[in-house]
């Protein structure tokens, strides 16, 4: 049987540049935020959120019942220059999965939330 296109078998130019890894500090900040959200620790969430984003971040925080979720997964990560968009899904034994998207950016080495949107029941930040 001829090889009809298994990508791993395709010959061609190999990567010439190193794969860009996301900053470990950004991932740590995301983990800190997600754990705070799952615990219902709104004070820690607020501490990571500048005033102009607080309303939208707290709308997401309030939609997450405390201690109902015990796992999170980062299902998407895309960037605009040095800001990272993350899509996260929270899961718990007796809860419907909760999906939301947020953007993290660093100022003076501190990663904070720049925008947040509940994606539960919708396809993207674009439309319902």
């Amino acid at each position: 049987m001829p090889d009809l296109g298994e990508r791993g078998h395709v010959m061609g130019p190999q990567p010439i540049a190193a794969i860009v890894q996301p900053p470990a500090e950004m991932l740590a900040a995301a983990e800190q935020l997600l754990n705070a959200l799952m615990r219902g620790d709104h004070a820690s969430v607020e501490a990571m959120t500048p005033a102009h984003v607080r309303d939208e971040m707290m709308a997401v925080a309030k939609a997450i019942p405390p201690n109902k979720y015990d796992k999170f997964e980062l299902i998407g990560r895309a960037r605009v220059a040095k800001h990272y968009f993350l899509k996260a899904q929270l899961t718990g034994r007796n809860a419907e999965p909760f999906k939301f998207q947020f953007r993290l950016g660093a100022t003076d080495g501190k990663w904070t939330v720049r925008e947040a949107l509940n994606l539960t029941g919708r396809r993207s930040a674009w439309s319902r």
Binding site: P13, V20, A78, K87, Q101, S124
Partner: protein
């Protein structure tokens, strides 16, 4: 026919993030970077630009497929051309996906914007091909012509040859658009004018704030501004008058 399908109805893996172009510009500005004019010789910028073209090719494939679906009463040869274009754009998507990987990136590493898809929302097949095949594919001629020069300056034959291969197809897509825009509007000058107006609107979107200019209007060609590829456009069948009209419109946008 359902009008104005939102961009997030397009099939994408769940890890992709789709945003408005305006929002991407604002986020860049928030980081102290000027709108859409990064330094093209920088490795990171090139990777991000290749990713942008990759998603553009995906949307071009979807746009041509949608045109095929939306106008079942159009001439059979028109449908054949659109089907051919879907095939071409699918290959282009794969080529640019491989170029993103060549530069150390992955599909979905950067956000996808809606701007190209937005330019496909016309209800008349003549306007549709004017906007997509003449407006967007004409833009592709400009962008690819410049990318080839950037690759030449970087001494990167892989990108240079890959993009040249794709550019040859884009030229045939523009020709296809010109042929069908004229054929579908034969004897109907009002319809032709509407199709051309739709194309002008698409061209205007990409001339925004002087983001595209004639080569002679660019003082230092550091690759930040997209230049209008006269030679490729002539090969694609644009008339000198049409190219001059685009140049004049680009000058007006830059002044604005």
């Amino acid at each position: 026919m359902e009008k104005c399908i939102p961009v997030d109805r397009l099939a994408r893996p769940d890890n992709w993030v789709v945003l408005r172009s305006r929002q991407v510009r604002e986020i860049r500005e928030e980081q102290g970077l000027e709108g859409g004019r990064p330094m093209p010789f920088d490795e990171e910028t090139l990777r991000s630009r290749l990713h942008g073209i990759y998603t553009g090719e995906l949307q071009a494939m979807e746009a041509a497929g949608r045109t095929l679906f939306d106008f079942p009463d159009a001439p059979w040869e028109f449908q054949l051309d659109m089907a051919r274009q879907v095939w071409d754009e699918a290959r282009h998507s794969e080529i640019f996906q491989r170029l993103v990987e060549y530069m150390g990136g992955h599909p979905g590493d950067y956000v996808e914007t809606e701007i190209l898809w937005r330019c496909t929302q016309a209800m008349d097949p003549a306007a549709r091909v004017a906007g997509i095949n003449r407006g967007l594919e004409g833009l592709a001629c400009d962008v690819f012509d410049q990318l080839i020069r950037i690759a030449q300056r970087n001494g990167d034959e892989v990108i240079e040859r890959s993009v040249d291969y794709v550019l040859a197809d884009e030229i045939t897509h523009v020709r296809m658009g010109s042929k069908w825009m004229r054929k579908l509007t034969e004897g109907d000058p009002e319809r032709l004018a509407k199709a051309q107006a739709f194309q002008d609107m698409v061209d205007e979107v990409f001339n925004f704030r002087g983001g595209r200019l004639a080569q002679e209007d660019i003082e230092n060609d550091d690759g930040q501004v997209v230049s209008i590829a006269k030679e490729a456009r002539m090969l694609a069948g644009f008339t000198e008058e049409e190219i001059q009209r685009l140049i004049n419109s680009a000058r007006k946008s830059a002044a604005y």
